[in-house]
């Protein structure tokens, strides 16, 4: 019997993809963009171009892009300190993202928050604090409001494995469970909470099991398999939009670098890091695409060249953007 197959996938031995070439290439381009922006942010910090610190997401792009890629403009994102790139996925202009690093007036918060703590109100990205899991609680409150307004918007909130230990994670999940809120909690389990390994964080193997205790859905996926994340996230988001409640999505992944740019991460074995770098989500997805004749070296180069140009423009913009006047410290305290 003839099978109608996706035009992208009728090649060699590779099984058919469920997704359109446009989507697949969109996901790929966004992962590369996040990687390149993040690496650029690290370089700029090391060059002393901006103060403060930066919390790299490199290695975790499968979760970051896979979870947020399908969001609509009216959906919300509640990021943590490690989710600067989630702003890029949600659509924030790169110029604003880099101005954020520099603490300039063209950053969304005019230099009030630290480089990686980026929000973007026009796109419903909630400016984060550093207190772990707070973003999950506030995101849950937003979801409560959205549900009461009978909107079908959803909230995606990111956190790490460490955040699942603190009480507020559980207060948020419990409340979301009671009210079946349109929430997707993305747990980027990168095995290390700053310098504390997972074995000292929890007795659990799968952090999605946290959901069971609150009567909500929990799913664990290979976070370095972007399509596994994308599929699980879009399913959870569809359920949330349909009023079927929240989901905890654990993405098993790895943080390539230290907790921050001033952390050499000597507490990790080099072998462990090397092993995980072999599982890099980007080459893995490149192979998936190449196997289906969707990606050539030429396209790869083209994608990188375009992003490089965009980044260069954004960095130049950020460097030219003025610093806030010192007295701006007095503004935005009271309505």
């Amino acid at each position: 019997m003839a099978t109608k197959v996706n035009r992208a996938t009728a090649v060699g031995d590779a099984p058919a993809s469920r997704h359109s070439p446009e989507l697949l290439l969109g996901l790929y381009r966004m992962m590369v963009k996040c990687r390149m922006c993040d690496e650029k942010a690290r370089i700029l910090f090391k060059q002393g171009k901006y103060a403060g610190n930066f919390y790299s997401n490199v290695g975790q792009e499968g979760g970051e892009v896979g979870a947020a890629f399908s969001l609509r403009e009216d959906d919300w994102v509640a990021p943590s300190h490690r989710d600067w790139t989630s702003c890029i996925v949600k659509g924030a202009p790169l110029k604003a993202c880099f101005a954020q690093l520099y603490g300039k007036t063209d950053s969304p918060d005019r230099g009030k928050s630290t480089p990686a703590h980026m929000g973007y109100p026009e796109l419903h990205i909630i400016t984060p604090a550093s207190t772990i899991a707070a973003q999950l609680m506030i995101g849950t409150g937003v979801a409560w409001g959205l549900k009461r307004q009978a909107k079908d918007s959803v909230v995606v909130s990111f956190c790490g494995d460490g955040a699942t230990s603190i009480g507020w994670f559980h207060e948020a999940l419990n409340f979301a469970g009671v009210h079946r809120l349109p929430m997707l909690y993305v747990v980027q389990n990168n095995l290390w909470a700053e310098s504390v390994p997972l074995r000292l964080q929890t007795a659990l193997t799968d952090l999605s099991d946290r959901a069971k205790g609150h009567g909500i859905t929990g799913v664990s996926v290979d976070g370095n398999d972007i399509l596994a994340v994308y599929d699980a996230a879009t399913k959870a988001i569809a359920r949330a939009r349909a009023g079927q409640g929240p989901t905890v999505l654990e993405c098993k992944t790895y943080r390539w670098y230290g907790h921050s740019e001033i952390d050499p991460a000597k507490y990790r074995m080099p072998e462990e890091v090397a092993e995980w770098k072999k599982k890099d989500p980007i080459p893995r997805f490149e192979k998936y695409l190449a196997d289906r004749k969707l990606l050539s070296d030429q396209i790869k180069k083209q994608v990188r060249d375009e992003i490089t140009r965009e980044i260069d423009e954004a960095v130049e913009f950020a460097e030219k953007s003025p610093y806030p006047a010192p007295e701006e410290a007095l503004e935005h305290i009271w309505a």
Binding site: H117, Y120, H332
Partner: protein, 328 residues
Amino acid sequence: MARTITYIDAINEALHQEMERDSRVCILGEDLGMGGGVFKATAGLYQKFGEERVLDSPLAEGIIIAAAIGASLVGYRPVPEIQFADFIGDAVDPILQQAAKLRYRSAGGYSCPITIRVCWGGGTGGGLYHSQENTTWFAHEPGIRVLAPSTAYDAKGMLIAAIRDENPVLFFEHKKLYRTAKSEVPEEPYTVSLDEAAVRRPGRDMTVLTYGYMASVVMEAAEEMAKRGVDAEVVDLRTLAPLDKKTIVESVRKTNRCLIVHEDTKTLGIGAELSAILNEEAFDDLDAPIMRVTGPDVPPVPFSPPLEKFFMVDKEKVLAGMEKLAAY
């Protein structure tokens, strides 16, 4: 038309009227829906507005406040309740790190118009964990109003003003005032300024700065002192953050003496800040050192009646403080 009602009825009336006026107003907290609140501050609201707007929350102060913050970001004006100030610990991060700083950290991109009602204060036999005052934990933080009305009139007018205010607000209600404080309160909605202290009793000889339940204690003491020939001006702060420095300083410039009375423990209580402000802005006008009558530096409030009496500031302690200041 005005009639005499209690402090708690004034609060209840304010909530009813604001919820009728503005469908964005909603309340959540422990036991306040079907139960009507442990002090009945929210009586009748659940029956009138339903679970959509009057929500019995899980027993978790953090999410009570955080849910309110989140809902405020999508247009609601939530009025969450912390049943006892003693239980606010779990909500300190949501209050101080989130609500108070959201506007600042987003450079005005987000604002957080929530009004957190908190029941506080000793003198009712509540013991160590149903008596505390922790207003100054929060008054220290820029970006959140801290209110502590002392009369039924102010309770209604300030609660309505707080709900309509764009800033996050902590609204401290002293449980001892709930049924003892009564005043003429208009039936119709009205607002009271959230930026001004109230001169409750004009006087020439000394200024007494106070707030909350202590305001009523100080008023009684001031009348007694008048009989003894000392004419005290009583300033009810009403708002602890931001402080109405103008009224405070002007009063002390006029009377040249200042006694600060608060129920809170002494060290780093609001009295310390008031004293520092007067030192900076009215030093040349002072004829005597600024004095304080406060709770002692012990965990508030020990339970056994003699212990609680030792802790609480009462009329006799205020009178002794006023006599000492007058004699200086």
